[in-house]
């Protein structure tokens, strides 16, 4: 059995929790996020004939009052950066968090999830911004927590990247 720790970071209210709510097994309530700043969920994926248990550290969204604790990312084999397509500032936050996460995880694989793809018409994050990141070999997936779009796929892709990175 392979186990991997995945961190999920992003700005406040970008939909990190909603994004994974339907796809993971959870025993802890969200109050942990507001108390100790993180809650742990579990996700099983089956890749290349192998079962992988993902321990998903759903870290409290960064805002003016609460910063993401780098400690929570230590030991992560990969991480999701989550941004809200309808809020441009979440893009900046994601970039900033990436710097920290990349350093703490020693350049572990990551995927940028731009959430609320169902509201793409109202997105503030521009295609240029996205294109800019793609050119830097960022892996970006549009997701919708509301419709469940690409969520499962995001887990599979990140897991594959982590396994390749071993």
């Amino acid at each position: 059995m392979i186990k991997k720790k995945i961190a999920m970071v992003g700005a406040f209210a970008v939909g990190k929790t909603s994004l994974v709510q339907r796809f993971v097994r959870s025993i802890f309530s969200e109050k942990y996020q507001t108390t100790i700043g993180v809650k742990i969920d579990q996700k099983e994926v089956h890749i290349n004939g192998e079962d992988v248990t993902l321990l998903l550290w759903d870290i409290h969204g960064e805002d003016d009052f609460m910063k993401v604790k780098p400690t929570y990312l230590i030991g992560s084999s990969g991480y999701f950066l989550v941004a809200d397509g309808t809020r441009a500032d979440t893009y900046d936050t994601a970039l900033k968090l990436h710097e920290m996460a990349s350093s703490v995880t020693k350049n572990a694989p990551f995927i940028l999830l731009i959430n609320k793809s169902d509201l793409q018409d109202t997105w503030e994050i521009t295609e240029n911004q996205i294109e800019n990141l793609i050119q830097q070999d960022w892996q970006i997936i549009y997701t919708s927590a509301k419709e469940g779009t690409n969520v499962e796929d995001a887990f599979v892709q990140l897991t594959q990247s982590m396994l390749q990175n071993q």
Binding site: K3, Y32, G37, V38, V52, L55, K69, T71, I74, G75
Partner: protein, 572 residues
């Protein structure tokens, strides 16, 4: 030769000549010289060469005393110091497996002393709980500490988690039997997250970790290792030595899986073998629940047994009483019991009863029976039991009190005294008594009426006593009256003698003592008796009826009896 000459002439030596010259100077052959040169020019090879010699050289130096250990110490101290300053964690990791046992040993000793000290302190505790424990210790003959701990320790280790320190991933999980499954992976990660949170929040040292979390009756004990931690979920109050078990477990894991821990990439299968280190931590220690003797059940049982025993006793007693009563009626004279039975709680007697026998109630009372406890269906009959025959004889013959009747084998035996008239009655009527066939009166004497009169006279004469003064024999008025009565009684005795042809006489007894001259005393006393006889003769009492006698008073306290004259009637 010519060539050498040329070199010499030119002032130059050939290579061969130089080698020959080197050999002559150093005494070494060319290969040896070449090796020396190599050592001089190649530091690596020189170091290898020296490394082989150095330990031997140091030993030689130490043995010779040229170098002391104290001389070498600074080098090692500096080395260790520099190593610690450069990377303390490395040395800590190296020492981790051996430091634990050493520290534990030291701590164990201190802990032992601490517990002893604690014990002494607690022994002086006077709280009700401590007093109760003290009483228990006293009565169970256990040490006070043992009792205290038996109350304190009640625990079960329910889960043991082996968690990778960096990734917070669960490496292995063991749980106690009959303990519900939990989401071990998530719990382990959250546990690490809480540890991280505490560390971050309170700016603790990076290597520090949460050691204990207590929520109600649940304790979380965590033991940190360099690469992994062991966490135990314990219900109740675990003993301190559980901490040692956890330490040993984490040390064993590190000792056996250090490379796996250092290069951990998420593959946990290899840590399945840590089960043997973790399982010993799944301890449980219950209170010594020595089952209390089931006092209540025992009491109830005792009560039941007592009740049953009492009923049996009562029943037995009742039977004994009934048997005793039945036996009593069977043995009772005048009764012939043919059948007994119990009806409605009563005892029914059937048989025969002589009317002269005792009443049934009398016998029942003797055996502590109430009258209503028995019913008697008895028909009359004539009993020939000896006692009944005697009763019957007494009733029929009405013997005087001086006669005793007994009965044996049809013979009525009369003994004692009776008048001749009653004897005639007896002879005439004994055969009318049922059961009496013959009569035995051998021991029955006829009362002599005249003898009865003599008894009166004898008693009367013996009742007189005359006391005189010294050397005087003179009666006062009172004595004169008595004397008159005495002479009358003497006359009756004389008449009785003559009537019945008897020879009763009156002994005139003069009392004296043995004090002083006994012969003289006796003479005086005899003289007094004779003189008194003279008075009686003068009063008309026949001389043959009188005789003088001296009696010695042996009791000195009765002084008044001395010089007295008394009387006794005797057969001549």
């Amino acid at each position: 030769m010519n060539e050498n000459k040329q070199h010499i002439e030119s002032g130059k030596l050939s290579e061969a000549q130089l080698n020959e010259l080197r050999t002559l100077i150093t005494g070494l052959e060319q290969p040896a010289l070449h090796r020396l040169q190599q050592l001089m020019t190649d530091p690596h090879e020189f170091a290898v060469e020296i490394s082989e010699l150095l330990p031997f050289s140091i030993r030689q130096l130490l043995e010779k005393g040229s170098v002391h250990i104290a001389d070498l110490l600074p080098f090692f101290e500096e080395m260790i110091q520099e190593s610690i300053e450069k990377n303390p964690q490395r040395l800590a990791n190296l020492l981790f497996p051996i430091m634990g046992p050493a520290i534990r040993k030291a701590v164990s000793e201190d802990l032992k002393r601490l517990i002893e000290s604690l014990n002494q302190g607690l022994e002086s505790g006077l709280s009700p709980k401590h007093l109760k424990w003290r009483m228990q210790a006293l009565f169970s003959k256990s040490s006070y500490l043992e009792i205290m701990l038996s109350h304190a320790y009640l625990f079960q280790v329910k889960h043991i988690f082996l968690i990778h320190r960096e990734s917070a991933l669960l490496l292995h999980h063991e749980k106690a039997e009959h303990v519900a499954d939990i989401e071990a992976d998530m719990v382990a990660s959250m546990l690490s997250a809480i540890g991280d949170f505490v560390r971050d929040s309170f700016h603790s040292n990076e290597r520090d970790g949460v050691e204990t979390i207590k929520i109600g009756e649940t304790n979380l004990w965590i033991e940190q290792g360099p690469h992994a931690i062991v966490a135990a979920v314990v219900a109740g109050n675990p003993p301190p030595d559980l901490r040692l078990d956890l330490k040993e477990a984490i040390e064993a894991v590190h000792y056996n899986h250090r490379p796996d821990l250092e290069k951990f990439e998420g593959e946990t299968a290899v840590f399945a073998h840590t089960s043997k280190f973790l399982k010993p931590c799944l301890r449980k220690e219950k209170k010594d629940q020595r089952k209390k003797p089931p006092y209540f059940a025992m009491f109830l049982l005792l009560l039941v047994f007592t009740g049953i025993g009492y009923l049996i006793y009562q029943k037995a007693q009742k039977n004994i009483r009934i048997n005793a009563l039945t036996e009593a009626f069977k043995n009772e004279h005048g009764y012939l019991i043919s059948q007994t039975e119990k009806q409605d709680g009563q005892l029914w007697f059937y048989g025969l009863k002589d009317e002269l026998a005792r009443q049934p109630q009398e016998i029942m009372t003797e055996h502590a029976f109430e009258a209503d406890e028995a019913v008697f269906k008895l028909k009359p009959f004539v009993s020939l039991d000896s006692s009944i025959v005697i009763v019957r004889a007494n009733k029929a013959l009405t013997p005087p009190e001086t006669v005793n009747l007994s009965y044996t084998k049809g013979v009525l035996i009369a003994s004692g005294t009776c008048k001749a008239e009653w004897l005639d009655l007896l002879h005439n009527n004994f055969h009318k008594v049922w059961g009496v066939h013959s009569l035995n009166v051998d021991d029955l004497k006829i009362i002599d009426e005249t003898l009865r009169d003599l008894s009166w006279i004898i008693e009367d004469i013996a009742s007189y006593r005359f006391i005189f003064d010294v050397n005087e024999l003179k009666m006062n008025d009172e004595q004169q009256k008595q004397f008159s009565n005495l002479t009358h009684a003497a006359a009756l005795l004389d008449e009785y003698n003559r009537t019945n042809n008897k020879n009763y006489i009156i002994e005139v007894q003069s009392v004296t003592t043995r004090a002083g001259n006994t012969v003289a005393n006796e003479r005086v006393a005899m003289s007094r008796a004779k003189n008194f006889i003279g008075f009686l003769l003068e009063a008309g009492v026949p001389a043959e009826l009188l005789t003088a006698k001296v009696i010695y008073n042996e009791d000195l306290a009765k002084k008044e009896e001395v010089r007295s004259v008394s009387f006794n009637v005797a057969e001549k």
